[in-house]
C-alpha cells in the first residue's frame, strides 16, 4: 500500500532560473548532469529527505535528512569565488571580476 502511494506521488521537475538548473524530485528520481563541458567551477547543492544516493563528491548514501554543498574548481584555472548558502535564501555564487 505504502509503495503504491509512493509510486503515485512520484514526480520530477527541472527548471532553469538565473542560469542555475534546479531539479525537484518527489518520490523516486535520478539526476544526471553532463560534466564534459569546460566549466572552471562547479557548485552543487543537494537537499534530500529519505534515501539519497550520489556518485559525486560529498554524501554517497544518506537516509533521513541530508544536505550537502560541494564546490569543485579545476586546478589549472585562476578563480576567485564566493559561495553563500543561508537557510531560507537561494544559493548565491559570486565570482568577482
Amino acid at each position: 500500500m505504502a509503495l503504491a502511494v509512493c509510486l503515485l506521488c512520484a514526480g520530477c521537475i527541472s527548471f532553469n532560473r538565473n542560469g542555475t538548473t534546479h531539479h525537484v524530485i518527489i518520490g523516486f528520481g535520478i539526476v544526471s548532469v553532463n560534466n564534459t563541458n569546460n566549466a572552471a567551477a562547479t557548485v552543487i547543492k543537494s537537499q534530500a529527505l529519505g534515501l539519497n544516493l550520489s556518485d559525486g563528491a560529498g554524501t554517497k548514501l544518506g537516509l533521513g535528512y541530508s544536505s550537502t554543498t560541494v564546490v569543485k574548481v579545476h586546478t589549472n584555472e585562476n578563480v576567485v569565488i564566493e559561495v553563500s548558502d543561508m537557510p531560507g535564501k537561494p544559493l548565491t555564487v559570486n565570482i568577482p571580476k
Binding site: 563528491a57 560541494v70 569565488i81 559561495v83
Partner: protein, 144 residues
Amino acid sequence: MKSILLTLVCVALCGCAKELHDSVITATGTTLGVEVAQNPTTQLYQAKLGYSRAELAFVPTDRGQATNQIGGAASTGNVLFELSLRNIFAGGGVYQRLAIGNVAVQQAGAAFLFAKDSSGNIGTNAQTILQQSLPLMLSRPPVK
C-alpha cells in the same frame, strides 16, 4: 521491505573510486539519520548514525604521479580557502570563499574578498591593511 533496504545498502557500498587529481574540492554536509560515505583520507567507506556534520577540503598534489621523482608532494595548487558555518540551532548556513590558482591568490580582488567579514563589510583594521598592501600588490609584475 527489509530486504529491499538491505539490497540498496549493498548496491551503494559496491563500486570503485576514481582518483580526482584535477580539481580542488570543498564539501560540507549535514546528515540527520544514516550516512554512508567514502573517507577521503583512508579511501574506505564509513557509516554514521544520528546527527553528523562534515567538512572537507581536497587540494590535489603530484604525490604518487609518474612525473614526480621525489616521492612526496613536489608541487601543489595555490589555494586560499575560508569556510564559515553557523550552528544548526542558530539557523544554520554555510559561507565559503576560495581563490584558486597562482594568479588568483595574488589578485587584488581576492584581497578584497578575504578582507570582508561574515556580514560582507570591511572593518577598519582590514581597511588599513588593504590600503597598505594594495600599492605593493598592484606594483608587482603579473604572475604567469
